[in-house]
Each structure stands twice: as C-alpha cells, then as structure tokens.
C-alpha cells in the first residue's frame, strides 16, 4: 500500500513537471554555465509575476468547472482607466486610488461573468468571450488607444521598492526583485489554503466535479460560481495595475493574447479543463516551466521566434501526460 502511494507520488503530475524543469535547467546550464546564478532566479521570479497571478485566476475558474478567457481584456481596462483618469482628467497621485479603481473594475467585470454563467447559465467560454469583447471594445471606443508611460509618484515609489538587490560579481549588473513579487507569493499561499481548508474551496472542487451532486449535497452552486469569476476579476484588476507599475506602460491591448499561455500553464500544472482537478503547487510549477522556456530558449541557441512553437509543444506534452494519467487512474479500479 505504502509502496503504491510512494510510486504514485513519484509519477504524479507535479513530480513529472519537476523532472522536466530540472532537465531543462540542466540542459541550459550545461550550455551556458552562467545560467546557474542567483541572477537567473531573480529574473524568472520577476518575469513570472503576471503569469502566476493570472494563472491563479484561471485555475480557480477552471476548478469550478468553468473557463475564463476575459481576464486579458478586463486587465487592460483595469490598467487603462485609472491611468487615463490620472493623466487626462485629474492628476490623482494615489496608489490606493490606482489599485482601488483597478480592483473595482475587475470586480465589476467578474460579477458580470458570474451573472452570465451562474444566473443566465451561458456556456462559460461564450460568456467570457462576450465579456472580453465588451470590455476591450468599450474602453477603446470611449477612451481611445493611448499609451501612458509615466507613473505618478506614489506608483513610482512602489516601482522603486525592491526586496532583493543582487549585483553580479563578474558583470557588475544589478538584479532587482520588486516588492510586488510578494503579491503572487501571498496569493498562492492564500489560494492554496482556501482550496484545501475552507468549505468554499472544497465547494469549488465539488461543483467542478459534478454540479448536480453538489446541488443535492446542499452547496450553493450559483454563489460558488459567482465567487470563482469575481475572484478572478479582482485578482486580474490588481495584477493589471502591477503590470503598469512594473512595465511603466498602460495600454488597451497590453495583455491581449495572454489567456493562451495562462491556460497552458494551468493545464500543464494538472488543472483539468473539464473542472474539479488541480491545485496551486502544480500551477506554480507550470508557470515556472513556461517562464523558463519563454526567457531561456535563446540561451540554448534556439531563436526567440521559435518560442511560441516550443510552448505549443510543451502544452501538447503536458496535456498528453495529464490525460494519460487520468486514463491510468480510471484503469485498474479498486
């Protein structure tokens, strides 16, 4: 029995993912010894911030049995509107205002998604596609397409706050890890706790597993769906403003297209697209792998133009492993 459990632990999705990550690092490291340096860790941490946050949004929705393809558009609105107001209407120099408004916008669109899916019972893909178009089209029509690249002082202050400063001994380059890195870290811990130790979290798994059974068991299916989409919206809003701060840029299209990479990170991490499966650890590993590939392919001498292609391969591989494991676990029934 114990042997069996150890074996299934060693071949779990997370472990396989870890093997792949280690293998990738070894290959890159052998070709480019410079890869094994604290600088790499900082770079990856910094580069993965947004993907990680968005992946948490997507994961919560996927576990509940839905899908959210609207977060890039919602994020764009959430980063653009506050910066538009600050730059063009009235210069409110307040980080609280910027983040508050971004989160509020995310919340409203999240509620809209929740309404469409749980009350009107639209298929989640269609509902969030509609929300995506409404958000993205609406903001462009009403506020135009500018790019804001200067931050008010309060946001600039956040940009200037780093938790790790590392100067590479050889090159003298300085690598900085911004304080906002703590957001995905705390969010991961929070979401992991929520999923494992609260009835809210178990409810999300329950409705993702079998809506009807969940209803019979007394779970409030609508409220849980509402929660999933609203949570996604809120975290998306916050992440979008983080993007503006860290990238010094706010446009109406900055995040568009991110949904594919984010869904990929989730699926590779063991979140099933059909709902009810997956967890934070797997998604973190999925994000790490995707971020590694996005940032280090050139170190292997593979041109950056191949990046999307390789990511596609990884998605394929990840999905094959997941479905293979699902098949294996439904075989040999106890």
């Amino acid at each position: 029995m114990n042997k069996l459990k150890t074996k299934s632990l060693l071949t779990s999705t997370q472990m396989i993912l870890l093997y792949v990550i280690v293998a990738f690092c070894l290959v890159v490291g052998i070709r480019q010894p410079a890869f094994f340096s604290p600088a790499t860790v900082i770079t990856i941490c910094r580069a993965g911030i947004f993907t990680m946050c968005f992946a948490l949004c997507e994961m919560v929705v996927l576990i509940s049995g839905g899908i959210d393809v609207s977060f890039p558009a919602i994020g764009c609105v959430a980063m653009y509107v506050p910066m538009y107001i600050i730059n063009r209407v009235t210069p409110i120099d307040s980080a609280l205002f910027a983040f508050g408004l971004a989160i509020l916008i995310g919340l409203l669109f999240g509620l809209l998604n929740g309404f469409l899916v749980s009350i009107l019972r639209l298929p989640p893909l269609i509902a969030t596609l509609a929300t995506s178009s409404i958000a993205s089209g609406g903001v462009v029509t009403l506020l135009g397409t500018r790019e804001f690249t200067t931050l008010p002082d309060s946001l600039q202050a956040i940009y200037n706050t780093n938790i790790i400063t590392y100067t590479a001994p050889g090159t003298g380059f300085t690598y900085l890890l911004n304080v906002l890195f703590l957001v995905p870290v705390l969010a991961c811990l929070g979401v992991a706790w929520m999923l494992r130790y609260t009835m809210l979290g178990r409810g999300l798994y329950a409705i993702g597993g079998d809506k009807n059974a969940a209803r019979v068991a007394g779970f409030n299916v609508r409220r849980l769906q509402f929660f999933a989409y609203t949570f996604s919206g809120v975290l998306t809003g916050a992440t979008a403003m983080m993007y503006t701060v860290l990238m010094h840029s706010s446009t109406t299209s900055a995040l568009m297209g991110d949904e594919m990479i984010v869904i990929a990170a989730c699926v590779i991490g063991g979140v099933r697209i059909t709902g009810g499966h997956g967890g934070v650890l797997g998604v973190v590993l999925g994000v790490v792998l995707i971020t590694l590939v996005q940032n280090n392919l050139n170190m292997l001498g593979i041109p950056t133009s191949w990046q999307t292609f390789v990511v596609g391969l990884i998605i394929l591989l990840g999905t094959i492993i997941t479905s293979w494991q699902a098949k294996r676990s439904s075989h040999g029934k106890a």
């Binding site: 029995m1 494992r196 130790y197 609260t198 009835m199 809210l200 979290g201 178990r202 409810g203 798994y205 329950a206 993702g208 597993g209 079998d210 009807n212 059974a213 969940a214 019979v216 068991a217 007394g218 779970f219 709902g275 009810g276 499966h277 676990s329 439904s330 029934k333 106890a334």
Partner: protein, 496 residues
C-alpha cells in the same frame, strides 16, 4: 418493534400537466424491513420516491411519517426525518476522495466554514465500519468501481441518522458477486433497525432480499404483501396487468434461406463460424463473455470485420468491410449499449427514428418533413412506443421504449438482416415480451433475425435455433426443445 410503521402513504395522487403520474398509491414501510417496490418503467416509481423525499409535493393523499402527517415536506425536512435516497447516478463527486464524499454533505449541512480533515476521516471511517465496507478513504471516487461508488453513497446516506433508505434500481450495473455484497450491507442496515426500500423489477433478486413487496402499475397501487405470497405468475400479472405468454417460438420450417455465413474468422475473436438463418427463424447466438458471441455481431455489422470467410444474404455473397457496407446491404444492428451507441439521447424520437434512413427523405437539398413524421408516427404505432408524440427527447423514455426506438430506426431502413445484441437488457417484463413479439413478427415477414444474448430463458423461449459459442468456435447448434440446464452445460463446456 418489527411491526412498527415508519412510513405510511394513503391515496397519493400527483399529476404533471394533466398526466397522472401517481393515481392513488398506498405504501407502508415498517421499521427494519426490506421492502421492494416493483413496477414497470413509467409506473410512477420515480415520482413516488420524489414525493417521499420531499422533491415533489403531492396533490392529494396523506404521507404519515412516524405517526405524523407530513404532506408539506421539502427535501431538507425529509432528510431531517431520516429519509435518504440513493439515486442511480449516486450523485457522488468523481474528483473528490472517498472520505470527502462520505463526510462533506454533513459538513455542508452543519454550515461549516472551514474543513476539518481529521473529522472528515473519522466520520468516513465510522460510516464504513457500520456497513462493513473497506475502501481506501484517500482514493478519488473516479478510481472506484460502480459497486464501490455505491458503497460510498450508502455510507454517506447513513451518517445522518438515516431511518429509511431508498435505493433506486441499485443492481443495474452490478455483477452477481457485487449484488451479493450489496445484500449483505442491506441486511446489516436492517439489523440496525433501518428500513430499506429497494426499487427493482428483477424477481430473482427480489426473492433474495425482500421481506415484503409492493407493486405499482400505471401510477396506481396494485398489491402488497410478504414476499412468499408472490410466485412468478402473480408477480408478472400484477406488474403488467396481463398474463405474459411463456409460449415457445416454433415457426413453420422453411427451406428459404435468408442468411448464411461460412467459415467466418477473425483472429483473436472467433474461428470457422458457420450458420444459416432461414425464413421465419429467430436465431439465438449465445456463449459466455469472451466466447466471441458479441464479436460475431460486430463483424457482421462491419464494426470489426471478419478477416476471412463468406457471407451470403438472400443467396448472394456480400462483403462487409465497414459499417457503410453493412448498411448498404441492409443489415441492421442494435448494439449492446444502446444508450451510447444506438441513440442520440438528447434528440427527439423522430430524429432518432430517421437517423439511419435520412437519405430517403432528401428531395434535392430539402428534407421531406411530412414523410419523416409519417414514418415515425407509423413506427410509434406499430412498435408500440409509449409517447404522446414523436417530439420528446429519447432521454425521457424508459429503457423498453428507448429500445423500441432503436428497433424502429432500423426497421425504417427496410433491413433484410437484423442483429440485436442484448435486446432486452434493462427492459422490464412487459416491454420485453412486446419486443419478443415484434421480433417474431419480423421473422415471419422474412427478415433474418439474430439475437445475441446470454439470457438463457429468453433464448429458449424466443429463438427456434441457438448457436452456442465457446472459445471463439461454434460449440453446438441446437433447437429450443432442450432444457435450460443442458444449454448452460453446453455454454460452460461441461461434458454432456
């Protein structure tokens, strides 16, 4: 104590949009008894269960629970009174562990905000100990067999002080051994004073387990009593309202050959199979699981075609390499699993009936709707599908009716050979005999009929010729004058 009444129903009536689903049902459940509720599909069993569990409110009649009148219950009230229903789909969570599946509902009910994993494991272990189930509490439900999923559902039902457990057709997907295990658990519950009502219409199983029996027909109460008061004849009469003929099928011998196979072989499945079907024959094809009986059917319909041998239909040799060949040669096939392979469950009776013959109804690019409706209505009448119209989705039909739709679909293609794999599995007594009658009639009309089945009484009664398969070869061809014991010996390969 044993005779103390837990639940009493008097004259329960319930109708949906003018249709009387329940039309005067009486039922009495005593503490600690095992009660079977029998009746053909559509007799109102499901509606009755929903009335008892508070899902439907009754129009007329009285529901007494432990001596109290409880006509206005909702599902939560019913659960609080100790009534638990296990539906056929069990309503379990495939993606959660055994322990969670057992204990989570209780946590929801207690309005818990946080999950206490220790408590969940304790509750699950306690429930499993009560019914004597031994399942790893950390395994996810999707990894369990149907029987174990059912065990989990039973464990979940009894943790909340259940006094009355309703099992809706619990044995449908179980093997004989699993049914035995289930009965052990049910008897253990009875020992604890829990009343159990089992919805079932298999008489042999009812004899194994029930103390008392209640039979419904067309939404109305027919009879009730201790199990020893029922014999086969009374049981089927009360279920169907008529005496079902047990007469064997003995057609007039005909020289006219419809269908013949010679030395049909498919490596790994069957070898050198030869037999012929004459006009009027209903040919039975039987054998144990793995004997090749099912594979022959699939080969003749081109699903997994034979690799060598000859097939003759009406005197002409035909080749069947795929399903299109089979359909082209006017061969019809009713698969074993009609729900997934034979029907579009969410489409209407009409759509299903014309699905295979849709080409007939094209005039250019236009479909002749009127002709389609006419054909469907004709089959509904002739085959006797019980439905108000051709509009309802097949999902809403009972097993017997759904099977009739599959048959209609093929008859609408004017088949010359009709292969039916397990045609009456999951079909109740009345509909079963109707389907048999249809097959006899078709055979008389000159359509070749091959029935693949392991239901020996059914074969002996309805097939005038039986091909017995063993280990991929034809072990014997017999007529239906032999005894069931002999046939079963042939199947097993026991020396005669």
């Amino acid at each position: 104590m044993a005779d103390e009444v837990f639940l009493k129903l008097k004259g329960i009536k319930k109708s949906f949009g003018g249709v009387h689903a329940l039309n005067g049902v009486d039922l009495e459940i005593r503490r600690g008894e095992i009660h079977c509720l029998a009746g053909e599909n559509g007799c109102g069993k499901s509606t009755l269960i929903k009335a008892i569990s508070g899902v439907h409110r009754v129009d007329e009649g009285e529901i007494w629970i432990e001596g109290k009148l409880c006509n206005k219950m909702n599902p939560i009230d019913a659960i609080n009174k100790g009534i638990q229903v296990i539906y056929q789909d069990f309503a379990v969570f495939p993606n959660l562990t055994v322990a969670e599946n057992i204990a989570l509902n209780g946590e929801v009910k207690n309005k818990a905000k946080l999950v206490n994993w220790k408590e969940i494991h304790r509750v699950a272990a306690e429930a499993m100990a009560q019914v004597g189930a031994e399942i790893d509490p950390d395994v996810k439900l999707e990894q369990l067999s149907v029987a174990n999923k059912q065990m989990v559902a039973i464990c979940r039902a009894i943790i909340n002080d259940a006094k009355f457990l309703i099992l809706d057709e619990p044995t449908t997907a179980l093997t004989a051994r699993e049914v035995e295990k289930l009965w052990t658990v049910v008897r253990a519950l009875k020992e604890k004073g829990i009343a159990v009502m089992i919805v079932n219409h298999k008489l042999d199983e009812i004899y194994q387990i029930a103390d008392r029996l209640t039979i419904l027909r067309n939404g109305a109460y027919v009879s009730s009593g201790p199990i020893h008061e029922y014999d086969q004849a009374r049981f089927t009469r009360d279920m169907t309202g008529r005496d079902i003929s047990q007469e064997k099928y003995l057609p007039k011998a005909s020289e006219e050959e419809i269908f013949r196979v010679e030395n049909l072989s498919l490596p790994g499945a069957f070898k050198d199979v030869s037999f012929s079907v004459h006009k009027g024959d209903v040919l039975g094809l039987t054998g144990l699981l793995g004997s090749g009986r099912g594979e022959i059917g699939e080969a003749l319909f081109g699903i997994e075609p034979a690799q060598s041998g000859h097939i003759y239909l009406n005197g002409q040799e035909i080749t069947i390499k795929n399903v299109a060949d089979a359909i082209h040669n006017k061969i019809g096939y009713v698969p074993e699993d009609r729900l997934t392979e034979g029907l579009f469950m969410d489409r209407s009776i009409l759509d299903n009936t014309i699905a295979t013959s849709i080409r007939k109804y094209f005039h250019g690019i236009k479909l002749d709707k009127a002709a389609m409706e006419e054909a469907t209505d004709r089959w509904i009448r002739e085959i006797g599908v019980v439905t108000p119209s051709s509009k309802p989705a097949v999902r809403t039909l009972s097993g017997g009716n759904a099977q009739k739709v599959v048959i209609s679909k093929w008859l609408n293609t004017d088949p010359k050979l009709f292969i039916l794999n397990g045609p009456t599995v999951g079909v109740d007594v009345g509909a079963k005999s109707e389907i048999h009658a249809i097959l006899r009639e078709l055979a008389q009309k000159g359509i070749g009929i091959i029935v693949i089945s392991d239901d020996l009484p059914e074969l002996l009664q309805n097939c005038n010729k039986i091909v017995v398969m063993r280990d991929g070869r034809v072990a014997a061809v017999v007529d239906n004058s032999i005894e069931q014991k002999e046939l079963s010996d042939l199947l097993m390969g026991r020396a005669e």
